[in-house]
Every structure is written in C-alpha cells, then in structure tokens.
C-alpha cells in the first residue's frame, strides 16, 4: 500500500484569488525519499503542511497508509509524522536532550526508553552525547539542524516532512548534512517528503522528484528522467539540462543500472560501485571504450552500466 496518497488536494487561502495548491494528486511509496522542487512561492510548503494538517485542505483528500488524515485528531497525526524546518524551531529554553524528547514525552514513553533514545539519536546524527545538557544557542547552525533532524526522528515516525532543512547552511555544511541524511535514510528507510528549491540538492537526495509550478505538479519522476525527459520547457530550464555534465556528477550509477548479469565481454573489467557518480562512470566508460562496465560491490555484480543506455538517455536531450 502506498504510504501517502493525495487526491486532487487543493488549498486556497482565504482572500486569495489563486490556489496555493491546486488539485494535486500523487502517491508516495514506503521508504521513498521524494523531493518537492520548484521556485519560491509555488506551493511546496503549503503542500507539506497539508500532510500534517498544519493547514486544512480546501478540497481533496490525503490518505496515510490508506487512512484519511481527517479521521484522526491532528495532534495524534502529527506525533506520528516527523517535522523538520529550516529555522529549526528548536525550543531555546530547553536543553538538547529535552528538545529531542518532546514527542516521546507527548506519547508517554517511559523515562528509561527516552533516555536511551536520546543517546541513540545523538549517535545517529553524529553529535557527541555530551551535547545533551547544552542549550540550542550553544550549537552551530549545522549542529542545530542535526538536532532538528534528531528531534523529528525521535519517536521513530514512518513519515518525515522536511521543509528546506539545509537551506540556511553554508555550502560545505549543507553537502555534509545531505550525505548524512542519505546515510541515515539507507539505514532507516523512512518515507520522506523533502522540500527544496535547490536543484542540486533535489538531484542528490531524491528517489523521485515532484516538480511544482504555481500550485500544480508539472512532473513527478526520477532525477535521471527529469534531466533526460523533461516534460516541458519549464522543467528543462529549472533542472538546467544544459548543465548535464555537472548534474550527472550528482547522481549515482545505481540510478542508471541495468540489472542482471553483465555481458561476458565486459565481465572482467574493473567494476563500478553503485555509489559512484555518473559523471565519473561516463568518463571511465569512454576511456575503456567498452560497451559497458560491471557494477558491483565486494566482487558481487549487481548489474551493469550500459554505454548505449546512457547514450540514449543523454541523446534525448
């Protein structure tokens, strides 16, 4: 069953002529990291807040694990959904441990379970346990954002909503946190809706990307398809298809993998790793002049990367 199903979801703010979110329908599968991408004001935040009912829809329905979100109290719904925002919204009067413990406390967890969870989460987001007794303002911006992530993950929700969580960080910190989010995601397999207006961030993080424009979904597709088969000029311009080579470096071999046993002719060539970026892979492909390269880790072939497939993808632009 899909984790999140939106059906003609619409939000029109009182006194506004146009709809902030207009009849949006989509499905997100369990364990997917879906990025909402689009220019400022296109309705990303509004759509996100419709999911945890910080906004109520004007029309349409939203199902989570098949259940209409309006069939349960908003507070109960929100305690089941992790929520992390750009400004962090950490409580300045509470210590880090208290900030992380907010939702578990609301859920009435036992003290020992909460204590253990706090340590576990600090480990997960790569901060020392000695930070427990600190206050938010004693942490750097990047560290505060990690606490925001830990706090959102605290009660182990199946769904996470993240609204430009890394938007206010410097480029270096942002990249590092993106990597860590991916590592955490590989481990936890949450269903994540992640808002950003940064194309590179979207390409790096997303399993699939929802491109939005003026409250509507223009295209809902994989990063590679977005680049190689943009639905229209808007998407092409947004993803900067001209910057293809640079964008290839943001994506992994795994995204263009042909599953199965590689052809015998290339089976013995040095393999690519699934996490290698596509640009490096293309360069190596062209250098070896082979029809493809095996892909695998620890001597185990997972499939292969075909030059023809890659060519075809690139050629369609």
């Amino acid at each position: 069953m899909s984790m999140i199903v939106a059906e003609r979801l619409t939000k029109q703010f009182p006194g506004e002529s146009r709809m902030a979110v207009a009849q949006v329908s989509f499905q997100v599968e369990p364990g997917e990291l879906v990025v909402l991408l689009g220019p400022s004001g296109c309705g990303k935040t509004t759509l996100l807040k419709l999911v945890n009912r910080l906004y109520e829809p004007s029309a349409g329905t939203l199902l989570i694990e098949g259940v209409d979100v309006r069939s349960m109290p908003a507070t109960a719904l929100r305690r089941r959904i992790g929520y992390a925002i750009q400004q962090t919204g950490l409580f300045p009067h509470l210590r880090i441990e208290q900030n992380i413990a907010v939702v578990p406390r609301l859920l009435g967890w036992e003290r020992q379970r909460i204590e253990a969870r706090i340590d576990e989460l600090l480990d997960l987001v790569g901060l020392p346990r000695s930070y427990r007794r600190r206050y938010p303002r004693q942490l750097s911006g990047g560290e505060q954002q990690r606490i925001g992530l830990a706090r959102a993950l605290a009660a182990d929700p199946a769904i996470m909503l993240m609204d430009e969580p890394f938007g206010a960080l410097d480029a270096l910190t942002r990249t590092r946190l993106q990597d860590e989010l991916l590592a955490i995601q590989r481990q936890l397999r949450k269903t994540i809706l992640f808002v950003t207006h940064d194309v590179e961030e979207a390409l790096r993080l997303a399993d699939r990307i929802i491109v939005m424009r003026e409250g509507r979904i223009v295209q809902f597709d994989t990063p590679l398809n977005l680049l190689t088969r943009p639905h229209d000029a808007f998407v092409r311009q947004l993803t900067g298809a001209d910057d293809l080579l640079r964008h290839l470096s943001l994506m992994t071999v795994a995204m263009a993998l042909t599953p199965g046993t590689p052809p015998a002719s290339i089976a013995n060539l040095p393999p690519l790793a699934p996490q290698d970026d596509l640009r490096t892979a293309l360069v190596r492909l062209l250098a070896t002049k082979a029809e493809g390269l095996p892909v695998g880790s620890n001597g185990q072939a997972q499939g292969w990367l075909s030059l023809a497939v890659l060519r075809q993808m690139l050629g369609e632009i």
Binding site: L54, R78, H93, L106, P136
Partner: protein, 208 residues
C-alpha cells in the same frame, strides 16, 4: 531622620501595611492579567478593544479613581485594592500578550507540528519563553503599584502614604522625609529583586 529613628515601630507597621497592600494587589492583578493576556494572544480581534479599555483606565488619575470608588466600596483597604488592581492591568496584560506574540513563529510552528495541543504549547513553550517579558512587566507594575499605594492613604487605606499626608497637613517635614525614604527603599528593593529575576529567566537558556 530623627522622626524615623524615634518612631520606627510605627513606621515599620505602616511599611508592612504598604507592602501587604502592594503584594495582595499584584497577586490578584496577575491572576487576572495572565488568563486575559493569554486569551488576547490567541484571539486577535479582542486585542485592540480590551487593551484600549485598559488604557483608558490607566489614564484616569489615581486620586479620582479612588474617590470615585468610595460610594461603592467605602473608605479603607478595599477601594485602594481595586484601584491598584485596575491600574496594573494594562502593563501586565500587555506584557503577557507581547511576551507570547513575540515568540519566533518557527518555534510555535514546530510546537504545533510535533503534536502539542493548545495547553501543552502554552505551558511548555509559550509561557516559559514569554517569562522574561512578563517579569519585566511585573517589575514596572510593581513600581507603579508601590507609588500609587502611597496615594491610597487618602482614603484611609493606611500604608506609608499616611506619613506623607499627615506630614503635609501638619507641616511636619520630618514625617514627610520619613515616608519618602521608606517608600523609596521599598521601590528600590523591589526593582533590584525583579531585575535579578529577569536576568535569571533569560539566563536559564544557557550562557551565550
């Protein structure tokens, strides 16, 4: 000074009367202002009319209000108490509203987004974060209450104002000085106390 030293038990008694009048007025005033302020912080359209009315009360000269209340409450402690409570409302209610509405919107959004209900948000987030502003308001209200309580002696409410009024009536400057010094002492002490409390409330978010 001579009067003060010679009559310290009497002055002490008036001092305690003054303190009691101030404290009881502030206690009741806070008990009213806190819920009113919380409601105003949530119901935007009530804010302007209610604060407007409190503002009008605030501008009535204290002596007139005291005298106006005599027909209803007679002379003594009661009209003084009511007057002091009424005067403190504007400052106290406003500090609660400003304290709560001044909280960074992202913090409130996070509190909602994590599933706190209205009460949990109020008790765990809004009031603790509004505390420094509310203590500052309480400080200002306390100082003005101490001052206005002096006037309350005019309606036989007792307190240190008694020394001032008696002194003026009998041209006894020693009495006036004794009264003035005692009131100032009380005000300065209250000021120091609340400043401490403000600093404590702000510091309890960790040193910068």
């Amino acid at each position: 000074m001579r009067y003060l030293i010679a009559n310290w038990p009497y002055v002490g008694e008036l001092f305690l009367e003054h303190l009691w009048l101030t404290l009881s007025a502030l206690l009741i005033a806070t008990a009213i202002a806190l819920p009113v302020g919380v409601i105003l912080s949530r119901v935007a359209w009530l804010r302007t009319p209610v604060l407007g009315i409190l503002g009008i009360i605030y501008t009535i000269p204290s002596l007139s209000l005291l005298v106006l209340l005599i027909p209803f409450l007679r002379l003594g402690y009661r009209p003084a108490l009511v007057t002091l409570i009424a005067y403190a409302q504007l400052v106290l209610v406003r500090s609660v509203v400003v304290g709560i509405n001044g909280i960074e919107p992202a913090i409130i959004e996070a509190a909602k987004g994590m599933g706190m209900n209205s009460w949990q948000r109020l008790l765990r987030v809004e009031l603790p974060l509004a505390l420094p502003v509310m203590i500052a308001g309480l400080r200002v209200a306390t100082l003005s209450t101490i001052a206005i309580a002096t006037v309350a002696a005019f309606v036989n409410a007792g307190g240190l104002g008694t020394l001032l009024f008696d002194g003026v009536r009998s041209s006894n400057s020693e009495k006036i000085i004794a009264g003035a010094i005692s009131v100032s002492l009380l005000a300065v002490a209250a000021n120091i106390l609340f400043r401490r409390a403000e600093i404590w409330a702000t510091r309890s978010r960790g040193p910068t």
